[in-house]
């Protein structure tokens, strides 16, 4: 099964928020609803001995997806074909258990529609394998990559291959979630901070 996800190279990310706006326009998200956010990590230290980086966060495509586990209706599910975690809005009853279960806070509750929403990895664009997610396509830093971690020729694998292990990170996984999203951050720019 493919392990599709986003890989984000923080050495290249400028914190411009274009990924947020790309995502909102692509997915027609209402005001106040976001599938992704860009967190400023730092500056830590004291001026001028400081460091910082930007951390874009969206659904991390957990191997052990807490959201799926807690969903009482099966609305949050792992798609059999693509192996990615999605939400079937028609089954969502808006109980928001998943919102609290997700350790990364990447799900939003759409009050108007009464359902929970999250990043779909732009399935409507990516499913056929031709197009990239909107946030990846437009990313000013050229910092975002989409693809299958298990395919050595995918964009994500090729970008990761450029960096030694010390530059590759995942968000903390308090309950063994094993998120797929990899972050690249070179120690020469900043040290990775465990935030979760």
């Amino acid at each position: 099964m493919p392990r599709n996800c986003l890989v984000i190279n923080l050495d290249r990310c400028t914190g411009c928020d274009s990924c947020i706006v790309s995502c909102k326009l692509e997915n027609s998200l209402p005001l106040g609803i976001f599938y992704n956010r860009v967190i400023q990590v730092g500056p830590t230290g004291q001026y001028p001995n400081i460091e910082r980086y930007n951390l874009p966060v969206q659904c991390q495509q957990c191997t052990h997806a807490r959201c799926v586990e807690v969903c009482p209706t099966g609305a949050s599910y792992r798609d059999e074909k693509t192996n990615i975690v999605l939400i079937d809005a028609s089954k969502c009853i808006g109980c928001q258990y998943c919102l609290y279960a997700c350790p990364y806070g990447v799900r939003s509750f759409d009050k108007d529609e009464g359902v929970v929403k999250k990043c779909t990895l732009c399935q409507h664009l990516t499913a056929k394998g031709k197009e990239k997610p909107a946030c990846v396509h437009n990313c000013p830093g050229g910092a975002r990559f989409y693809g299958d971690l298990d395919d050595p020729n995918s964009d994500v694998s090729r970008e990761l291959a450029k960096y030694p292990d010390e530059c590759i990170h995942t968000l903390g996984a308090p309950e063994g979630e094993e998120p797929l999203t990899r972050y690249i951050l070179s120690p020469k720019y900043a040290t990775w901070k465990e935030l979760v």
């Binding site: 460091e51 910082r52 409507h124 499913a127 056929k128 396509h137 830093g141 050229g142």
Partner: protein, 959 residues
């Protein structure tokens, strides 16, 4: 080509309303909307027409190439073009938000006339005929009553399409007063420095200079200094992407910035400089490089004017003929057309002063000494190099560290890395918005020249275009417009005085032949130029036909030296981008009639406008030359949609001047009716042939349907050009530079001459100082601090204010874009947590800032990215303040407007640059101001309104 089906399906629900709105207007241009149509079966049956169009963004001046998708003519998606040489598909939030701007309920689609009082915000829609009549009448009335100087033009400030149409319009009607929030405060100093010091481009990192660092094809650059250049914000998609690639290629960066910018966070060396201590830092670099002999001596000797001995009285380089009247300059043009002067140097071979003719270095009769003094005609004279050395001599590393607040070791590491690698300095705009504008730009350019970092691989100062190779001695006129040809005014650098005079006379003759008194016309033009307010003190304002700001305000208030009656505001929102808002507000109230042209209503519309003329957003705007080039590509700017009766500003200004002439009783009643057509046009049909020719197509209107097929691309190996100055040209000499001496001029002779007589702008006439005296502008980088600086002990205003850019907004634009505002609803006041703690301010709390001039509010953003004692804030205004839902509508420019504290009463002597940053402030805790939205849901009224007339025809057509 993307997968149109899925895009469309995804959107169909939300678009049913739009499709409906659009189809109601079938029969207009909609039916002919061109470009790639890739409807799949499902959509074919649904009848929705899908198209994809190529154009370029105009969210800022970077022109990133984009694809726009339409469904039944309605733009539904914008994405980056992977074929952008440097952008590779990148697009920033400003570009993406165009979808919300073009369909914004605030995008005005018909001319509006104010009813009721100014500030009452009541408007009546009128026809274009009525609007033009009204504007024409009012301008004619002012002209008859007070003369043409009484019409004032407003430029810059964001959301305008360049400045050319404004300048030629002023020239046409002879209206000298034009002010800009940018201009003297943005890029004009760099524009002058590039021309004056090397006859070409400058070191501004953003835009189309300083691009060698992005040379991925033949990478040579090892290090780049980003000096106050916040590239990730100002070039959010273009330069940010190119810089990320540059860093990945291993180019080292030295970042000089008081704030811990994105660039600083990724720098190899960051110099956390005290805000506005940059001149001290530059002088420290000069001294270190000269004292440690890290400069390029050969280049300085033969390719700069540093070895020229300078007359201590005139401050001009001494010409050989002044010392040896019978000297025969071997390099002089026998036809007296091209100018190649011989100067005077101290020759190391003979230990004496000698004539220094222009030759190839190996043919030079002298070995000039760069740093020395020598007696010439009985007076001790210093070389240009010596003058710069004396200006920097005291700036040891220790002293530089003490004054700039960066430790000496870090400074030394930075300057050594810079001086010992293939590198260059790329600058940001920051110093232009300060009293230090000339000092900074002259200093940074001169440092690169001192180190020989000019026109070779791996440096910043390069001329990257095929046309930069020469076959004759290079020449330079300060702009592309034909002032010398038309009015016989101005000096072409590189031509002799006699040739300039001949050209001037020929222009006068051409008027005479047409039956117009040429000399009178020339004098009328010069008088119009010299009438620019403050230009007697700050003569470089002529570079962009601008005025010093404070004297304009004074003229408005007191009617001296002349009455200003009509304001024709062509920029977004001057209340947001300029200082002294309250004073301007009073001054503008004296205006008899104010016309505001913009795509959207701003505070300016609310406060001042009597007539609002709607111009086009960039998805509606078509052009071939204006903002169409990025790096090596020039795009066809395509009109993808067109709403209501919005119009192209180039057409608007032309139609307005036509109307003015009509009301005045003829084209001969203005300064020079036809001059406007050096940039504008009456209708698109009029300009299409020119555009077609430029793009090498037969029929523009046909070709632009497939704009994607016509991008003009300069091949990379033709783009990158080096060593142009060494090309041997038709006089048998190396081409050199398009400067007075044919060499680089780190000793800025042009600045001295400009101060004396206003050279080159009014030649053959002279503009001296207010008392007829010569003014003395700096010729080298000289120490200077802001009038209010951080070295002062100021108990009343203990903090220091600096500003910076954010990626989300360009100038005054996009404050009505809901997806930007929900991310950045109000301006942050960045403050050090230790300061905040002392003041009892928590992150996200409201604070009030005040200076000696005004006060404003913002939301505290606690960060160690700023030094204790410094606060940083970006410009803002609130279009929601005049939303219908507000109980007390206001112009929205008083609540959070950093510029209310800024100043224009002290300015840079050469460029009249006011201080939009770099002054003392105080900070106290405060409350959220009235009429400001902060929560995402509040921005609903700004969400797009698709219930509008879509894809209508252009208003003006060829007769």
């Amino acid at each position: 080509m993307g997968d149109m089906k899925s895009v469309a399906l995804w959107r169909r629900k939300s678009l049913s309303k739009l499709s409906h709105a659009a189809s109601g207007l079938a029969g207009l241009e909609l039916a002919e909307k061109p470009a790639l149509v890739e409807a799949d079966e499902e959509f074919a049956t649904s009848g929705v027409k899908l198209e994809k169009h190529h154009t370029c963004c105009h969210g800022c001046y970077n022109n990133c190439p984009v694809w726009v998708y339409t469904e039944d003519g309605v733009a539904v998606k914008i994405e980056g073009d992977y074929d952008g040489t440097l952008t590779k598909g990148a697009l920033c939030t400003k570009a993406l938000n165009q979808l919300h701007l073009v369909y914004s309920p605030r995008h005005i689609l018909h001319p509006m006339k104010r009813i009721g009082v100014r500030g009452g915000n009541e408007w009546e829609t009128i026809s274009w005929d009525e609007a033009l009549n009204l504007a024409g009448e009012q301008m004619a009335l002012a002209t008859k009553k007070y003369g043409p100087y009484s019409i004032m033009v407003g430029a810059g400030g964001g959301g305008t399409y360049g400045n050319v149409f404004q300048r030629v319009t002023q020239d046409a009607i002879g209206a000298p007063v034009c002010i800009s929030g940018g201009g003297c405060q943005c890029y004009l100093p760099a524009d002058c420095a590039g021309q004056w010091m090397r006859g070409g481009s400058n070191n501004r990192h953003e835009g189309n200079n300083a691009r060698e660092m992005w040379n991925a094809w033949n990478p040579a650059m090892e290090c780049v200094v980003l000096w106050g250049a916040q590239t990730s914000a100002s070039g959010a998609a273009y330069a940010a992407r190119a810089n990320a690639d540059m860093r990945e290629r291993g180019v080292k960066t030295i970042v000089v910035d008081p704030y811990f910018t994105e660039e600083a966070a990724k720098a190899d060396i960051w110099l956390p400089i005290r805000p506005m201590a940059d001149i001290a830092m530059l002088l420290g670099w000069f001294r270190y490089i000269i004292a440690n002999k890290l400069y390029d001596e050969q280049f300085c000797k033969y390719w700069t004017n540093y070895p020229f001995l300078i007359d201590p009285d005139t401050r001009l380089p001494i010409k050989a003929e002044e010392v040896w009247p019978d000297y025969v300059n071997p390099s002089a043009d026998p036809n007296d057309v091209y100018d190649t002067p011989a100067y005077v140097c101290f020759d190391a071979r003979t230990n004496s002063i000698q004539p220094f003719p222009y030759t190839l270095p190996e043919n030079s009769p002298v070995d000039p000494v760069v740093f020395c003094e020598a007696e010439v005609n009985g007076r001790m004279c210093k070389t240009g190099g010596q003058i710069q050395w004396e200006a920097c001599q005291e700036w040891t590393l220790e002293k530089t560290a003490e004054v700039t607040w960066v430790d000496a070791d870090t400074i030394e590491r930075a300057v050594r890395l810079y001086a010992t690698t293939l590198s260059g300095i790329g600058t940001g705009q920051f110093a232009d918005m300060s009293e230090l504008s000339s000092n900074f730009i002259f200093g940074t350019m001169a440092l690169d020249m001192l180190c020989g970092k000019v026109d070779k691989p791996g440096v910043v100062l390069t001329e990257q275009k095929p046309e930069s190779r020469h076959t004759t001695r290079p020449t330079h006129f300060w702009c592309g417009r034909p002032y010398q040809e038309t009015f016989g005014v101005g000096w072409t650098v590189g031509l002799t005085k006699n040739e300039n005079l001949r050209r001037s006379k020929a222009a006068v003759e051409r008027w005479n032949e047409k039956g117009v008194d040429g000399l009178a016309k020339q004098k009328e033009f010069v008088a119009y130029q010299m009438a620019r307010l403050g230009s007697d003190h700050h003569k470089a304002v002529h570079q962009w036909q601008l005025n010093e700001l404070a004297p304009v305000r004074k003229a408005l208030l007191v009617g001296e030296p002349y009455k200003i009656s009509v304001r024709w505001e062509q920029s977004g929102n001057k209340y947001c981008v300029m200082s002294s808002g309250e004073e301007w507000n009073k001054a503008y109230s004296t205006i008899d009639f104010c016309i505001h042209q913009q795509p959207h209503m701003t505070s300016t519309t609310f406060e001042d406008a009597d007539l609002f003329l709607p111009t086009q957003e960039w998805l509606e705007f078509e052009h071939a030359t204006e903002m169409t080039t990025q790096f090596n590509q020039t795009y066809m700017r395509k009109q993808v949609v067109h709403l209501g009766e919005t119009i192209d500003p180039f057409i608007l200004v032309t139609q307005m001047v036509d109307k003015l002439c009509e009301k005045l009783g003829g084209d001969d009643k203005v300064l020079c009716r036809d001059f406007q057509f050096n940039g504008t046009y009456r209708t698109k049909e009029d300009i299409y042939p020119q555009w077609a020719e430029m793009f090498g197509v037969d029929d523009w209107a046909e070709a632009v349907k497939h704009s994607e097929d016509h991008t003009l691309t300069v091949p990379i190996d033709e783009l990158y050009q080096f060593y142009q100055y060494l090309d041997i040209v038709d006089d048998g000499l190396p081409a050199g530079f398009a400067t007075l001496s044919r060499k680089c001029e780190p000793y800025v002779t042009m600045a001295v001459m400009n101060g004396h007589t206003g050279f080159p702008y009014n030649f053959p006439y002279e503009q001296t100082g207010p008392q007829g005296e010569w003014l003395e502008y700096d010729a080298v980088c000289t120490y200077r601090e802001q009038s209010e600086n951080m070295l002062q002990d100021d108990k009343e205003y203990p903090f220091y204010l600096t500003t910076g850019r954010v990626a989300h907004y360009h100038h005054t634009t996009l404050r009505n874009a809901p997806y930007s505002r929900e991310l950045m609803p109000v301006p942050d006041v960045r403050i050090n947590p230790r300061d905040a703690k002392r003041l009892g301010i928590n992150h996200g709390e409201w604070v009030e800032l005040s200076s000696r001039r005004g006060k404003t509010r913002g939301r505290a953003y606690l960060t160690e990215g700023v030094r204790p004692g410094v606060v940083m804030m970006e410009r803002f205004y609130f279009p929601e303040s005049y939303d219908g839902s507000q109980k007390n509508p206001t112009g929205g420019w008083r609540q959070c407007n950093v510029n209310l504290m800024a100043r224009d009463d002290v300015v840079n002597p050469t460029f009249a640059s006011a201080s939009w940053r770099g002054y003392r402030v105080n900070v106290v805790k405060s409350e959220k101001p009235e009429g400001v939205w902060t929560e995402p849901e509040e921005f609903k009224p700004f969400m797009p309104d698709h219930n509008v007339e879509c894809n209508t025809q252009e208003v003006f057509h060829h007769a």
